[in-house]
Each structure stands twice: as structure tokens, then as C-alpha cells.
């Protein structure tokens, strides 16, 4: 078992497999970017201001 999968061992197998997908098989550049970001996301960053987008009131 890899380090990553041991960290997410509580999650259903089907969900882990979505993160294991080969990005090159995706037909969309935007989608590959987003899958990669979700893979690297840490729960601690939830709600943190993201400088990729300008902040405003909604």
C-alpha cells in the first residue's frame, strides 16, 4: 500500500481510484488541472484565501 493510499484508507475504494487516474487519459486540460489540484489539496487549506482568484464579496 502506498503512503498516499494509507493516508486515505478510510475512503471507499472507488473514490481513491478516481484520484489514481492517469491525467493523460483525460480529454480536458482544465479537468486534468483540477484533478491534480484535488490530489494535492490538504483539508487545512479549506477556507483559506486562494490567490489564484481575486477576492470579492461572493
Amino acid at each position: 500500500m502506498s503512503e498516499e493510499s494509507s493516508e486515505t484508507a478510510g475512503e471507499p475504494e472507488s473514490y481513491q481510484s478516481s484520484m489514481d487516474i492517469e491525467l493523460a487519459t483525460l480529454s480536458s486540460v482544465a479537468l486534468a488541472r483540477l484533478v491534480e489540484e484535488v490530489r494535492n489539496e490538504e483539508p487545512a487549506t479549506a477556507g483559506a484565501y486562494d490567490r489564484v482568484h481575486n477576492r470579492h464579496n461572493r
Binding site: 484535488v38 482568484h53 461572493r58
Partner: protein, 389 residues
């Protein structure tokens, strides 16, 4: 209570008159009682208050210059504001500006670059789309001047930092692909599309009924354009929705179930709720208590029960929402869109059908790509007879 955004009204007036504006044209007239521009004294108090908040709160927050139109400050006052704020806020605390772009000059861009202020420009699309609602005081076009302002940013040596993107209110009767392509042509690194302000008592433009999904269909067509683009910019709303469907996080309120903390400071220093609530009823953004950066510490205000009740408003209370298969992605939408005279905010979003239509299409597309959606969403979506996935 963790605050991620302090949005500062440095000008309470605007140099244009968008017919859909929630500040001036949706029934709230709080702006009339406010100083036209933030004073030097209030800027000083604000800077002190923000510096204190930065020491009190471990998590960095963003400070957004907003209005009215923030560039009505003029170059000299703008520099004073930014110098004052930067003296108290390190580079880890983002400074941003949301502007209509009409007054953007090289001098303004240089000042923003000097104090590390990123700029987002409000523009709804190509000329015909933009000039339908975003008009000058005499009803004249604004498009050309806004695009000229964007070009100032694009030509600046620090364009990659300064030009953060565009903010666009959706016209559901427009062509989403044409709008998307237009913004790409303007070199926008990020496009933030917004639902039009409105609620159950005052339906948003273009919605035939609360059950119709004109905006959901528009966004679904945008989704196809975005996902088919070999060199896509960022589209925040779709990025958040896709990431949430994959089990990730969104970065702003209105989608997902992460709590965000935002406070507004008016030009006189008064601390208010999210000003988008103005579109619900006159004074909806006001606290019962009168708090001001001139007299109150921000941390103390954010620790009050009244502020906590406002903060909790972002979580939907409607039973329709709590039993919905898509709650983890939709999050009940923005509070302003839940408003209805009588039941107040205890309703699903007026964009509920739109959210469902778009989420369904996102899920379909993710599955088509071989991706598995968030199991919480998948389990609830497949077990709910109300939603066809």
C-alpha cells in the same frame, strides 16, 4: 471565528450606473448616508484595526478595496490608503481591488504594483453583452473605456501579478461560448462568473420562475466550452464545482460547505455584513449594534454572538437543502439568493434548479471521463429519486 476577507468601501459612489447594481438600484439606499470617500482619519483607524487583526488571527486574510468605485479615490488618495494598509499588513495578507476599470491609468497601475495590489475588472462580456446593463450615468456605453483599462494592466511590466482577471455577471440570454472566448481574447487569467442578484420575492433577470434553469443551462454550455479548451484560463465557479464533485474544496462562498468569514467596512468606518445582502431588503447588511473600526477592535466584533449569527447565515436552513443530494456541492448557494419576504432566508436558493442542472451535467462529464465523484455525493445522488443523474 476566522476571517478570510475584509472588504473596504473606500468610495460609496460610483462613476457608472449599472442597472442591476445591488448597491444603488435594488432598494437599499444606505450609500446616501455614507461619506463619498473614506477619510484619512478612517483610513488610519482601519489600518490600525487590520494590523491588530493580523496579530490576533493566525490565518492571513485578504483586504479588498471596493465601492462604489474604488478608483474614485484618485491616485493621491489611493496611494495614501495603500501605504497606510501595507504599513500594517505584511505581504502574506493579500491586498486586492475590484474595479469597473474605467479610471485605470498607468499611474494607478504603478501605485498598485508598488503596494502589491492585484486588480480584478468588472466586465460582462463583448460590447453588446456588457452595455446591456453596465452603462454610464447618461446611459452611454462603458465597454471601450473598461477594455482600455484592462489594456493598461496587460501592458504593465507586472501584468502577471496585477491583472488577476475579470468579474462577469451572467446574462442568461447571451452566448456563453462567445463570452468565454471574448475574455480569453482579453488575456484574462481568471474569469469569475456570477449569478445575477435576485431572490424569491424579486426573481433574477432571465428566470421565468424559481423552478426554471436558464442559468444552469447557460453554465452547462460554458462548461462544455471550458472543458474543451486546450489552453483554458481559470473559471472560478466551474473550478469550485468540479473540485467539490471530486471531493475537494471550493475557495469562495456560494458553493460547498466550507465556512468563509467576510466583513465589510463602509466609508465612515462602520462594520457591516456582506453587502450583497442589500439586494434582499433595505438595511439587510446592517448589524443591530453600531460597530466601527474607529471605536471597536475587529477581533472583538468577530467574537460577538451577533456576528456569529450573521456568519451562520451562509449555512442553509431549509429542509429542502438539508435533504438534497447535492448539498455538499451546492451548499445552498449565496444567502442573498435564498431571501423571500415572510420566510426570510429559510429557503433554498432561487437558483436551486440551476445548481441542480449544472451539478448533474458536471457529474455526467466526470463519469464520462472515468472519474469517480465524491462518494458522499454519489451515494446520495443515486439514492435520491428527486435528482436524475
Amino acid at each position: 471565528m476566522q476571517i478570510d476577507t475584509v472588504l473596504v468601501k473606500v468610495a460609496s459612489r460610483c462613476n457608472i450606473n449599472c442597472t442591476y447594481c445591488y448597491v444603488y438600484n435594488m432598494g437599499d439606499d444606505g450609500w446616501r448616508d455614507m461619506p463619498a470617500l473614506i477619510s484619512r482619519e478612517t483610513v488610519g483607524a482601519l489600518a490600525e484595526a487590520l494590523g491588530e487583526l493580523a496579530r490576533d488571527q493566525a490565518k492571513p486574510f485578504a483586504t479588498v478595496l471596493h465601492g462604489g468605485e474604488p478608483l474614485m479615490l484618485g491616485a493621491r488618495r489611493l496611494e495614501f490608503v495603500l501605504r497606510s494598509l501595507r504599513a500594517k499588513l505584511s505581504s502574506g495578507h493579500a491586498l486586492c481591488m475590484q474595479t469597473n476599470g474605467m479610471l485605470l491609468t498607468s499611474e494607478i497601475a504603478d501605485i498598485c504594483a508598488r503596494y502589491d495590489v492585484s486588480i480584478s475588472v468588472s466586465l460582462d462580456g463583448p460590447r453588446a453583452v456588457n452595455d446591456r446593463f453596465r452603462l454610464g450615468k447618461q446611459g452611454e456605453s462603458t465597454h471601450e473605456k473598461v477594455v482600455a483599462g484592462i489594456e493598461v494592466l496587460r501592458r504593465h511590466p507586472r501584468a502577471a501579478f496585477l491583472y488577476s482577471g475579470v468579474l462577469s455577471v451572467i446574462d442568461p440570454t447571451s452566448d456563453p461560448r462567445a463570452t468565454y472566448d471574448y475574455f480569453k481574447g482579453l488575456g484574462a487569467p481568471s474569469i469569475d462568473f456570477l449569478y445575477r442578484d435576485g431572490n424569491h420575492s424579486s426573481l433574477p433577470f432571465g428566470k421565468e420562475s424559481p423552478d426554471s434553469d436558464e442559468y444552469g443551462q447557460w453554465l452547462s454550455r460554458l462548461l462544455e466550452a471550458y472543458l474543451g479548451d486546450p489552453a483554458p484560463p481559470r473559471v472560478r465557479f466551474l473550478d469550485d464545482m468540479i473540485k467539490l464533485c471530486l471531493g475537494g474544496f471550493g475557495i469562495k462562498e456560494g458553493l460547498g460547505q466550507t465556512d468563509f468569514g467576510i466583513a465589510i467596512v463602509e466609508t465612515d468606518g462602520t462594520i457591516c455584513k456582506n453587502d450583497t445582502l442589500k439586494s434582499s431588503f433595505d438595511g439587510a447588511d446592517r448589524f443591530t449594534e453600531h460597530w466601527s473600526v474607529r471605536t471597536h477592535a475587529l477581533s472583538a466584533v468577530f467574537a460577538t454572538q451577533e456576528f456569529a449569527r450573521y456568519h451562520a447565515l451562509q449555512r442553509p436552513t431549509s429542509s429542502t437543502c438539508s435533504s438534497c443530494a447535492y448539498l455538499s456541492v451546492c451548499g445552498g448557494g449565496m444567502p442573498l439568493h435564498r431571501w423571500k419576504a415572510g420566510t426570510e432566508f429559510d429557503n433554498p436558493s432561487v437558483y436551486c434548479s440551476d445548481q441542480k442542472a449544472l451539478i448533474s451535467n458536471v457529474i455526467l462529464r466526470l463519469r464520462k471521463e472515468g472519474l469517480k465523484i465524491d462518494p458522499r455525493l454519489a451515494e446520495r445522488a443515486t439514492s435520491s429519486p428527486a435528482v436524475s443523474v
